[in-house]
Amino acid sequence: MNFFGFGSGAEIEILLDGADKRKKVEHKISENKSEELSVYYDGETVSGAVSISLKPGGKLEHKGIKIELIGQIEILYDRANQHDFATLTKQLASPGILNQSKVYAFEFPHVEKPYESYFGSNVRLRYSLKVTVGRRLTDLNKELEFVVHTLSTYPDTNTSIKMEVGIEDCLHIEFEYNKQKYHLKDAIIGKIYFLLVRVKIKHMEMHVIKRETTGTGPSVYHDDDTVAKFEIMDGAPVKGESIPIRLFLGGYNLTPSMRDINRKFSVKYFLNLVLIDEEDRRYFKQQEIILWRKGDVPRRQINSAIEESTQRFGA
């Protein structure tokens, strides 16, 4: 992987502090590859060390060594449009010559990470640490990506979604989902109640659709992807019949809903209720739901936080 042309013989490695204790997740870094990356949250300090190893007897002349923390949004179809919403730089070494392997420590304190890492079909949002060793002809680079999760908290009981929809004289149903906001490991509990059935229904399905919207104004582009699909009813229902819904979200690869991220893209989730009749006609009702990531950050004790801060800042 460290393929440097013309045998410079220098190997750069980025190590994160506390990497073994930190949570890791499997995250897509390219179309076919996933990697296990460390997870960071908003406000956390990103620190670690950069180690530059030289072959015994080798030397490295450079114009300066720096490390950058970059947060970027990449929109694939739009001229490979790349937008950096966060760039922090730390100078590790001023121009000079390295005669032996060296380790440089770095720290980016309390970094603001407002958005969650996202790997989508048309847009990607990623955070990475990039080390650059400046040289006369070509710079040496090394990049380490890490994942940012945004956590939210919502009360357990939020209003349910309940609606009556249908087609005049053919089909009337009332559907209900227990919540509007679901966390990623939640379960959608609900029911479908048939008020009027005058068509011959073959079966009913529930789809979870992810809609990725990129661009603003005139050039808005939606990309719909059916993330989950399952059958909730097989056979013809009759009037007065009630069909339960129990959909466990934990089994699917979902991200939190993202709204107008940096005014560049949105990710929304919809529950699509589809009824298929004997003639293969489809009747559907789409309903947006909000997905959020539950923090496994323990409920903080305010008192201890105050004590800690007074100690730290010495009132």
Binding site: E112, P114, L151, T153, Y154, P155, R259, W292, I302, I306
Partner: protein
């Protein structure tokens, strides 16, 4: 952790801290603002993740909260022992109320930049009524030439000092950016784009509209603090430096809204200020701690007078400096500038100090001026022929009136006037401007009237007639005009508010032919001035009548002269020269 040995007091504000506030007769002395819904994304404050928090949006000066060490922008973590992370606005308010007269809170301060990040703009509405007064105006514009192209820039002044010059397209861009962020705000009228080059008059109109626009818009705190505005004015913040340019300190009025924010305690050292502002081409020197006020004279200079004098005394002093002969005294009066380009006459017993104080409470400076007080144009001409000093005074006033649209002229006439002005052809200028239908008229700002159920009227008083122009409630002219002849007027008065009448109004009674006499009520804020103008016209008509009917024996307080007579010899011949 790394030892942070600096013991600056600010550091304890980096973490949460506890405060106890006792209710006083001004309440707790702070406002709470925050999301309506419950829960939300966790965001970090100084490295620690918190759910969305309600915050302190305003602090009452010297109130209980301020004394307890609460600062505006502080996030609320606990209320009376209960954790309120992610709470709805109502929940926090209820908890505060439930505590009765005592309130224990845990708060954490955030720097202003973080405060913007922490409040997403989708869960609650911006509080546009949260006003933080700033002294901003656009007193003038300049023609510039840069790299071959010519354009106009408008000078933006903050607290009397020039901060930025921007051209119209930049204002427009700023407005469009603001509209994207503050979507639901009711913006004041923004001057429209024009395809062709603008005349001086149009430029003045545009300057005035831009000034009103930014004064009305930028006074809202949320708009003030946004990046678009800061970038537009190229300032870091609206420093709450104590205002040295105003001689009067701002009287703290107990009736003012609690929304007033105090000046932050930790701030840079104030620099001493002397400011100079240019208004209407007449430069005023602003003095510190004086009780003088400046009055603009029609000879383009200004004079300083003691504030505590009455109008009559001041006028005598001021007119003396103009070197006017005594017979011209009755034709000049002291006016104070109100609203957009509207001068209101001061009565002889009025005190100037009152107006100076009113203006300074709005962080503005009162503009006083000496202007003519005569409606009869023929008489004006007669006096002009006799007194040369009058020419330059009337000319200057006319120029200023044309420039600020008090006299409306067609663009053709405007360009002719501009030409005459540049060649200093004073009498030709006056002759031409005299032909304009709005010369010698007093046009009042639009107001409501009892004869119109909806919409407003613009009152136009001139020697020829009393006119009511119909207009919308925003002042946009409509097609209807009603003219009253002075001979139809029977009575007029000012009615103060009583139990039956809710508002103060100026009323007049007219009678047309054999029909019944009718009263009309005009609900204007300038009821006294309207009354004075009305009375003046009637008086001048009386004087003129006296002259024509009884040329030899006119009453002693009739200042009118008969044209063509150089000696005061009685003659019973009818000259017919008026």
């Amino acid at each position: 952790m790394s030892g942070n040995n600096r013991k600056r007091r600010e550091d304890i504000y980096k973490g949460p801290r506890k405060v106890t506030i006792k209710k006083t007769d001004t309440g707790f002395g702070f406002n709470v603002r925050g999301q309506v819904s419950e829960g939300g994304q966790l965001k970090s404050i100084n490295g620690v993740l918190y759910a969305p928090l309600q915050h302190v949006s305003a602090i009452l000066e010297n109130g209980s909260a301020e004394m307890a060490g609460v600062r505006p922008g502080d996030r609320i973590l606990e209320v009376n022992g209960e954790n309120v992370e992610g709470s709805t606005h109502r929940q926090v308010v209820e908890l505060i109320k439930a505590g009765g007269n005592e309130l224990r809170m845990t708060v954490i301060s955030v720097p202003a930049k973080d405060a913007q990040r922490l409040d997403p703009d989708d869960d609650f509405f911006y509080d546009y009524d949260d006003i933080r007064k700033i002294e901003i105006d656009v007193p003038e514009y300049e023609h510039v030439e840069e790299e071959g192209s010519k354009f106009v820039v408008y000078c933006i002044h903050l607290k009397g000092k020039l901060v930025m010059k921007r051209r119209y397209s930049e204002f427009l861009l700023m407005y469009e950016e603001l509209m994207k962020i503050f979507v639901e705000f009711d913006y004041p009228k923004f001057p429209s784009k024009k395809l062709f080059q603008l005349s001086e008059q149009q430029l003045e109109r545009r300057r005035s509209m831009l000034e009103t626009f930014i004064q009305e818009t930028f006074k809202r705190r949320v708009i003030q603090e946004c990046d678009v505005v800061m970038d537009f004015l190229k300032i870091e913040s609206f420093d709450n430096e104590p205002d040295n340019s105003e001689p009067e300190t701002h009287d703290y009025n107990a009736d003012e809204e609690l929304g007033e924010v105090t000046k932050p305690k930790f701030e840079k050292v104030e620099k001493p200020q002397t400011s100079q502002s240019k208004v209407n081409g007449i430069s005023e020197q602003v003095k510190e701690k004086s009780d003088d006020i400046d009055i603009n004279l029609p000879n383009q200079s200004s004079v300083s007078c003691k504030k505590h004098l009455t109008t009559e005394e001041t006028l005598k002093e001021v007119v003396g400096s103009l070197d006017l002969p005594d017979n011209l005294l009755p034709f000049f009066c002291l006016f104070v500038r109100k609203e957009r380009n509207f001068y209101c006459r001061l009565r002889s017993d009025e005190s100037l100090a009152k107006h100076a104080k009113m203006a300074s409470s709005k962080h503005k400076r009162a503009h006083f001026a000496v202007r003519k007080w005569i409606f009869n144009k023929a008489q004006e001409k007669a006096l002009l022929a006799r007194n040369e000093e009058l020419l330059i005074l009337l000319y200057n006033q006319a120029v200023s009136d044309v420039k600020e649209n008090r006299i409306q002229v067609t663009s053709r006439v405007a360009s002719q006037l501009a030409m005459m002005s540049s060649m200093n052809k004073h009498s030709e200028y006056l002759e031409l401007v005299n032909d304009s239908p709005t010369y010698g008229c007093v046009i009042f700002p639009h107001c409501s009237c009892d004869s119109r159920k909806r919409g407003h009227v613009i009152v136009n008083i001139s020697y020829e007639a009393f006119k009511l122009f119909a207009c919308t409630e925003d002042g946009e002219l409509e097609s209807q005009v009603i003219e009253f002849e002075w001979s139809e007027m029977k009575d007029w008065e000012v009615r103060k508010s009583t139990e039956d009448e809710e508002k103060i109004s100026f009323c007049f009674q007219y009678q047309r032919g054999e029909k019944k006499a009718r009263w009309v009520k005009i609900f204007t804020t300038y009821e006294d001035y309207m009354f004075d103008c009305f009375s003046r016209v009637m008086t001048e008509r009386k004087w003129e009548e006296e002259l024509t009917s009884n040329p030899g024996k006119k009453s002693p307080d009739n200042p009118f002269i008969k044209e063509g007579i150089t000696t005061v010899q009685s003659s019973n011949d009818d000259d017919g020269d008026l």
